[in-house]
């Protein structure tokens, strides 16, 4: 059974891609995934499944991807290096490919101390860039770490995450280059609220010609409330929300804040569409997946191309 | 070869941690515990032996540091400093200075004379005994050879009345009655203590010390009687009560006794001598202005020995008291003038703290001295005089073992003996008897100052 990644097809065809994120349940229950898949189907090009995000134990990403695939959705398997050593990681990569999963997003993962298993031993046998390179070597050269040959290589469209807002700012682009060189083909960025800073970053990316080498999907997280904005700004690693956005949310009465959040998201998408070097958006509506279709529609990204 | 008088000394451990001049203040915070830590390099191993005495809460760094400052100067983080040890600073008083106390401690512990390097560090001169210097001679008959021969220098003195001349009968028989005389090998006897914690251990220690060096200790008869102390070997009973309190048997058994200066002391003396003609009687006289007259009077009346007492600080009883050395000098001078000095023995006491005080007082005219407080200090007394106020003794003197105390006193006297020999040796003298009243062999501050400094600033002097 040979199937290509839908996301790859959309991107390589030059379309402005739309992906969304989906968190698996904290239980052995396929229902919620199917439900979320159902909501997103048709509105996005692929759905990205988190791997025990923030170190909280959830249904495995690989299993959830298989369920989504059965629902006819092109899943993106997130894989973090926090929980498994290189043996388990490589084995899961092979398994995912065999199960027909065609996209992988390589991450190091949130530190275990943020989750509900604080006493867990962080594995971090290899890091995210090493993982990207491992997947690429397995796929393109048919070799695992150490050079042993595979009987059949995995087929995967390789993604990586990037935070344009993190410190040290000047190094971010260099690190992106490293990820590209390691084998990343698409990049999901951290949620974008600070458009000027993002522009600055993409400008640097363009200067390095990196936008020619990799597909970049801008991260979008619609804000539900001013409170959420404040919390994210203060407590979520790697996220900064400019004062202006927080103020804008605060000025709106609480019952209308969701609406305002959606508005901001759409405005952001509009801005991204105009930016050279941006190839799509990745919508991370945390536990608010039902809103994704509305955003996609309002941003005039519906319907999705069918290739 | 004459028999040597030798005080056998040996090191006698302190019971309590020593109290020294300064303590160490070493912060631990920031200490690097470096491999070549200045604390490990300490020549005196102060830090290696560090400990806290749970009883007195005295840190051993305050008992062993010798002030070399190497740790202060080499600690890379400058964490070590020095501070005055309050226990040291607060010892004694203006007269009985901490320096004197620790000097006595040293002698009592080791039996050696205090020796130090790097010259003298004290004041140019001072009141009291510090305003005179003893003499020496560049060229003298050898008084000693090495360290042993000097013990042939005699430190023996006699207590008692001496006849001015002897009369012989035609048949060559001695007509002059020979008055009683007691010989002591060191010109020191132990006096009544001005203060002391209660109990019998301290008196027992004094007795042990006196016996060991073959001198005498003066003790109140009332005490001796109450405790039934017997025999009275090396003890001089002081008749603090009535003369009748003492039994004839006792009077007959002892060589020497002291009586207070009350009423007609010489007649008391005579009464006692009726019972025991061989008994030396000392009359305890308080020093005061005009005492010269009394001394002459008593001597003329036939007193054997006058014990001239000053207070704890060497002062006589007066509004503007004269210091002991000056009053004794004057008493001696008056007796010499009257031509009766040699008839009587002068014993002086009060404020004698160091060996040099003994020598200087003898130069000023005493035949012999009596010590008191240094004997307590030998047993680790700090001269806080808390016992006087009924407070507990910080040195727990009441618990000393008499045997230990006796040895400490012996050590101290051994040190004094040796120092007396040093002084006599420097002058080329072979007998302490000859030092008595030798004021020409002393230099007095007032004389020298006047002679040398009073005419500075004037032209044409040189």
């Amino acid at each position: 059974m040979k199937r290509e990644s839908n996301l790859k097809k959309v991107l390589s065809a030059g379309h402005f891609a739309v992906t969304a994120e989906c968190g698996p349940p904290k239980g052995a229950d396929e229902g919620p995934i199917k439900k979320k898949g159902g909501m997103l189907k048709g509105y996005v090009d692929s759905v990205n499944v988190t791997d025990n995000q923030t170190g909280v134990v959830r249904l495995s990403s690989l299993a959830a991807c298989v369920i989504l695939k059965e629902e006819g959705i092109d899943p993106v398997l997130q894989m973090v290096t926090r929980d498994r050593n290189r043996i388990a990681l490589q084995s899961d990569i092979l398994g995912a490919s065999a199960l027909g999963i065609r996209n992988i997003l390589c991450l190091s993962g949130d530190h275990q101390s943020f989750g509900n298993q604080k006493g867990a031993k962080g594995v971090f046998d290899i890091d995210s860039i090493q993982l990207i390179h491992t997947v690429k070597t397995m796929r393109d050269e048919g070799k695992i770490i150490g050079g042993e040959a595979l009987t059949a290589p995995p087929q995967l469209f390789i993604g990586a995450a990037e935070n344009p807002f993190a410190d040290p700012f000047s190094y971010r682009v260099l690190r992106l280059g490293k990820k590209i060189r390691a084998g990343a083909e698409f990049i999901q960025t951290q949620c974008i609220y600070d458009i000027p800073r993002f522009k600055e970053w993409i400008g640097m990316v363009r200067d390095e010609g990196m936008d020619q080498k990799v597909y970049i999907l801008g991260g979008i997280t619609p804000l539900k409330s001013a409170k959420m904005a404040e919390y994210m700004n203060g407590h979520v690693a790697g996220i900064t929300i400019p004062e202006g956005i927080i103020d804008r949310m605060k000025k709106v009465p609480p019952k209308d804040q969701r609406e305002e959040g959606i508005k901001i998201a759409i405005e952001t998408i509009e801005a991204l569409k105009e930016m050279k070097g941006i190839h799509g958006v990745h919508i991370m509506a945390i536990e608010w997946e039902e809103i994704v279709p509305q955003i996609v529609e309002k941003a005039n990204l519906y319907p999705r191309p069918s290739l | 070869m004459p028999k040597k008088y030798h005080i056998h000394t040996s090191s006698v451990q302190n019971r309590l941690p020593k109290i020294i001049k300064s303590g160490v203040i070493a912060w631990e915070e920031g200490c690097l515990k470096c491999a070549r830590c200045v604390k490990k390099e300490c020549v005196y191993k102060v830090y290696e032996k560090r400990g806290l005495d749970g009883e007195s809460m005295v840190d051993s760094t305050d008992t062993m540091c010798m002030d070399c400052f190497r740790c202060v100067q080499n600690c890379p983080n400058r964490l070590i400093q020095k501070g005055i040890n309050p226990l040291y600073r607060d010892m004694g008083d203006e007269y009985w200075t901490p320096d004197i106390i620790s000097n006595i401690w040293f002698q009592a512990e080791t039996g050696r004379i205090p020796v130090s390097g790097a010259g003298y560090g004290g004041p140019f001169s001072g009141p009291g005994f510090d305003s005179m210097w003893t003499d020496m001679s560049e060229i003298v008959r050898p008084t000693r050879d090495g360290i042993h021969g000097r013990e042939y220098i005699s430190t023996t003195v006699d207590i008692g009345r001496k006849p001015m001349y002897l009369e012989f009968g035609d048949d060559g028989s001695l007509l002059t009655p020979i008055p009683p005389l007691v010989e002591i090998p060191l010109p020191v006897i132990f006096d009544l203590l001005p203060f002391s914690p209660p109990g019998d251990n301290i008196p027992q220690s004094l007795i042990a010390g006196a016996r060991s060096i073959n001198t005498y200790v003066i003790m109140k008869w009332s005490y001796l009687k109450e405790k039934g102390i017997s025999p009275l070997q090396n003890i001089i009973p002081f008749l603090d009560g009535n003369t009748d309190d003492i039994e004839e048997g006792v009077i007959k058994s002892i060589p020497i006794i002291e009586i207070p200066d009350r009423g007609e002391p010489v007649s008391v003396q005579n009464r006692l001598n009726e019972i025991n003609p061989q008994l030396v009687v000392m009359i305890r006289v308080e020093l005061a202005p005009g005492i010269e007259e009394k001394a002459c009077d008593l001597t003329k009346k036939g007193a054997h020995t006058l014990h001239l007492c000053a207070d704890e600080f060497g002062n006589e009883q007066a509004e503007k008291p004269l210091f002991i050395k000056d009053r004794v000098r004057s008493v001696h001078g008056t007796l010499v003038e009257k031509g009766i000095r040699d008839q009587v023995t002068l014993l002086a006491s009060g404020g004698i703290a160091m060996a040099e005080h003994m020598a200087k007082l003898i130069i000023c005219g005493a035949d012999c001295v009596a010590v008191d407080i240094p004997l307590l200090v030998a047993m680790e007394c700090r001269i806080c005089r808390r016992c006087k106020e009924g407070l507990s003794c910080p040195a727990k003197l009441e618990t000393v073992e008499p045997q230990w105390g006796g040895k400490r006193i012996t050590n101290l006297m051994g040190g004094w003996h040796n120092q007396l020999l040093e002084v006599l040796g420097a002058m080329g003298m072979r007998e302490v008897r000859r030092l008595r009243g030798e004021m020409g062999r002393a230099m007095f501050f007032e004389d020298l100052e006047r002679e040398v400094f009073s005419n500075l600033g004037q032209r044409g002097q040189g």
Binding site: - | I25, E55, M57, Q81, N85, P86, E389, L391
Partner: protein, 143 residues
């Protein structure tokens, strides 16, 4: 709350910087006369010389309450001796709590006034102060 008499039944240990009272040797006597062995006074070259072990030893030896008296902050001859004393006292308190002794059994008094106070009045004031602590469990007879 116990009476003054009961308070005076307690054993007090005082460690104090010698700079507080230059006449400590003289002044302490008044209080020692009235309290006898119930109060024990230990002058130290600088309050920064106090170590947690001093405090523990004092408690082991039978102190019901240990006071550490330091000069006013900013007046330490060694500049930070009293600050260090403060930290050491609180470290000792931590240890005491671990053992199960009330940390109130040791108290640091940082004198507010200039130096030159008399130790007897200081001690008297502190002994007279109301406390909740009774006799130290370490002083109870072994069962």
């Amino acid at each position: 709350m116990e009476t003054k008499e009961e308070r005076q039944g307690l054993n007090f240990y005082f460690f104090f910087c010698q700079r507080i009272d230059k006449e400590q040797e003289k002044n302490r006597r008044t209080i020692e006369k009235s309290m006898g062995d119930k109060v024990r006074l230990f002058p130290i070259p600088c309050s920064g010389r106090i170590e947690p072990i001093h405090i523990l030893r004092a408690l082991e030896k039978g102190a019901d309450k240990v006071y550490v008296l330091t000069c006013r902050e900013g007046l330490c001859r060694y500049r930070e001796g009293n600050l260090r004393a403060k930290k050491r006292v609180s470290y000792a308190q931590k240890l005491m709590e671990e053992i199960g002794l009330e940390k109130e059994r040791v108290e640091l008094i940082n004198l507010k006034k200039e130096n030159g106070m008399t130790i007897d009045t200081l001690v008297e004031d502190l002994v007279g102060k109301k406390t909740n602590i009774g006799s130290s469990p370490l002083n109870k007879p072994l069962l």
